[in-house]
């Protein structure tokens, strides 16, 4: 199949190369954020970066690996909790934030063999139980004072201005790093294999995809990413209240961002994160109605626009800014009829359309030396 000369496998386009350069320029500009923007904007952007991390992580988990977790707040809360413990035991405060997240990520490894054998809804609620258990156990720690919580007091060593700038840089660096790692992983062999698992686990297994290994990498990455988001949240808010950090609302936010942006599209998760940030900025103060609106919007998108805003745009105009997939192009049609070429491109599989053709396509990638 790889020798079939009637198709060209396309991994990037001129447009996507331009988008990549634009993203790099944007990151460089953002790196000077604390020197350029007002304190308010720096704080807002820090929050936005945290949302982007959560959105991209949940998308990697649910959109690509098919693991709908309603318990990622377990790692969000555990990361923050470990950071407080480490800082209390004398670790420098910013290293504690990183190490805390890493510990929470590592903790996902012994959990994964149990959880990853569950499928669909069983996995979803199983993760919820894990989050509840983590919450209950953290509250037992005397350092946390029950539901009252504790503070990351060591942050007081920095002046508010410095703290703001450090938090911003850490959030930006974390977001860029995690987005890049997810992008590279999904573009590589792992992306194809986890998507094959998502679309049909048994079929994937039968053609030699190492199901558990693939899921475990994504599961660890998502746990680590959510834990980093949790420690960053701790750095910006200083106080740790178990009820807030282990709250189910984080899952609601993640589902909203990914569904609105586009489940299973890399750019969609980013778009969803930005949209959620704006919506929270505008309506967050309305409290309960805001949450009702988020839930209702998630239902509407899941039912009527399952590819989300970006996925729908992508399908209509065939834009791929940050392509992680493979496109098939017919060389003869390319020169004079770009529309026909576009039509011939392979559509990326979605959880909404279980298409055997997609599975075949994702497994027909020429094997590359590892």
């Amino acid at each position: 199949m790889s020798k079939d000369s009637s198709f060209i496998v396309e991994r990037s386009t001129r447009l996507s190369a331009a988008a990549g350069i634009a993203a790099a320029v944007l990151v460089v500009v953002l790196a000077f954020g604390p020197l350029l923007f007002s304190a308010n904007i720096v704080d807002s952007l820090t929050t936005l970066f945290i949302y982007l991390i959560l959105s991209v992580m949940w998308n990697a988990l649910a959109g690509y690996a098919g693991l709908v977790s309603v318990g990622q707040q377990a790692f969000f809360g555990l990361g923050a909790y470990f950071a407080i413990e480490l800082s209390y035991h004398g670790v420098g405060v910013y290293p504690a934030l990183l190490l805390g997240a890493l510990l929470a990520g590592i903790l996902s490894l012994p959990i994964s063999p149990l959880m990853l054998r569950l499928r669909g809804g069983e996995f979803a609620i199983g993760m919820w139980v894990v989050a509840e258990l983590a919450h209950l156990l953290v509250v037992l720690d005397p350092l946390i004072n029950g539901e009252t919580g504790a503070s990351l007091i060591a942050l007081n060593a920095f002046s508010p201005d410095h703290r703001r700038a450090y938090n911003y840089w850490m959030a930006l660096a974390t977001a860029v790093m995690l987005l890049t790692v997810v992008f590279m992983l999904l573009r590589g062999r792992l992306g194809a294999s986890v998507q094959a698992i998502r679309d049909d686990e048994d079929a994937a297994k039968s053609v030699g995809v190492r199901v558990l290994a693939g899921k475990r990498i994504i599961f660890f990455l998502a746990a680590f990413g959510c834990a980093l988001a949790g420690t960053l949240w701790l750095a910006t808010s200083i106080t740790f209240q178990p009820n807030t950090y282990f709250g189910i609302q984080w899952t609601a936010y993640m589902i909203f961002m990914v569904l609105v942006g586009g489940l299973g599209t890399f750019e969609g998760a980013i778009v969803g994160g930005v949209i959620f940030f704006l919506i929270e900025y505008m309506f967050g103060a309305t409290g309960v109605w805001y949450l009702i609106g988020l839930g209702a919007t998630a239902i509407v998108f899941a039912l009527f626009l399952p590819r989300g805003l970006w996925g729908t745009l992508e399908d209509r105009w065939r834009i791929r800014l940050l392509p992680v997939g493979y496109s098939l192009r017919m060389p003869s049609a390319d020169a004079d009829a770009p529309d026909a070429a576009a039509a011939a491109r392979e559509r990326r599989p979605t959880p909404a359309s279980l298409d055997k053709h997609d599975i075949a396509a994702s497994n027909s990638i020429p094997a590359r030396p590892r």
């Binding site: 649910a62 098919g66 709908v68 309603v70 063999p113 149990l114 054998r117 569950l118 669909g120 809804g121 069983e122 979803a124 609620i125 199983g126 919820w128 139980v129 894990v130 509840e132 258990l133 209950l136 156990l137 509250v139 037992l140 189910i248 899952t251 609601a252 589902i255 569904l259 489940l263 309960v288 109605w289 949450l291 009702i292 988020l294 839930g295 209702a296 919007t297 998630a298 239902i299 899941a302 039912l303 399952p306 959880p351 909404a352 359309s353 279980l354």
Partner: protein, 300 residues
């Protein structure tokens, strides 16, 4: 003696969990949907009954005559308007939509009823704390006993309904293979909606019993969903008689946990769930689910 009393309490509490889990298990067995709004639908029914009892002074037991058909109707139309469409989108979409529904229900209830914890106990008089003495200084709450009896009757009745009525057989046939069921003249859409109606009404009944037993708030739903799910998994997914066993195991674990530590109630339940899960995975027995589950053989 305290341990025997706790054991009995645990078993009776298990009856409540079985009742709560019954709808979750049934819906999964028939439609392969895990309804993440299950707990919130239970609380919704508790709120409806509370509203009726509070406004009119009618006994909550009488109010069930209005509330349960209402819940059944909600279940029926939930299937028709939302779940049916999300089922067409694959395995993940029902999870996402029911999670969205859960958020909408609990925050909607909060908007209307506020954050206060409520209870139906004041509306059922002495029955809330009546108990029977058994020789040996053991007391059994009459409400707990009633809930257990209702759970056994409901689970048994459902089993008989599935095996002995034409609608029950239609549900089983549709669960097995909706397309083939359609060939022999079964209206799968209608059958699914009826199954959803039964599931949601039974969840509502459990919610009302919860409200009689203890306090509830608009945000109590997720905890109930988790309990129900734990009972289902411990007992074996899709098996109605297993659900009763699972509920009892969970109930005993929780009452014993509470005896050890105030936080132990929840922790022990979750730990037993994870241990059972780990044990079953280790034994590689997750595929071989026994009992009634064979009625709902896996769709390919």
């Amino acid at each position: 003696m305290i341990w025997i009393t706790q054991l009995l309490n645990g078993v009776l509490l298990g009856g409540y969990y079985a009742l709560l889990a019954c709808g979750l298990s049934f819906m999964f067995g028939v439609m392969r949907i895990i309804n993440l709004a299950h707990g919130d639908l239970a609380i919704l029914c508790a709120c409806v009954v509370f509203f009726i009892a509070d406004q009119t002074g009618i006994s909550p037991f009488v109010a069930l005559i209005v509330a349960l058909p209402l819940m059944a109707a909600i279940g029926f139309w939930l299937q028709r308007l939302m779940l049916e469409r999300s089922l067409r989108g694959g395995m993940l979409v029902p999870l996402l939509t029911t999670f969205g529904l859960a958020i909408v229900i609990e925050n909607g209830l909060f908007e209307y009823f506020g954050a206060d914890s409520r209870s139906l106990a004041p509306y059922i008089g002495d029955f809330a704390f009546d108990s029977w003495a058994i020789p040996g200084n053991i007391y059994i709450g009459s409400l707990a006993l009633l809930i257990f009896a209702v759970a056994v009757v409901l689970l048994g009745g459902l089993k008989l309904f599935l095996t002995h009525t034409s609608l029950g057989r239609a549900i089983r046939a549709t669960a097995e293979d909706p397309d083939t069921a359609g060939l022999v003249g079964i209206n799968a859409r209608y059958v699914y909606a009826v199954a959803a109606a039964i599931a949601v009404a039974s969840a509502g009944l459990a919610g009302v019993f919860l409200a009689m037993r203890e306090t509830f708030s608009p945000y109590s739903g997720p905890t109930q969903l988790i309990f129900a799910f734990e009972a289902v998994v411990i007992g074996g997914i899709g098996s109605l008689s297993g659900t009763l066993v699972g509920g009892i195991v969970l109930g005993i674990a929780q009452t014993f946990g509470a005896q050890i530590n105030p936080q132990g109630f929840l922790i022990a339940g979750h730990v037993v769930f994870l241990v059972v899960l780990a044990g079953r995975l280790a034994a590689g027995a997750l595929q071989a689910r026994g009992g009634l589950h064979r009625l709902f053989a896996r769709r390919s």
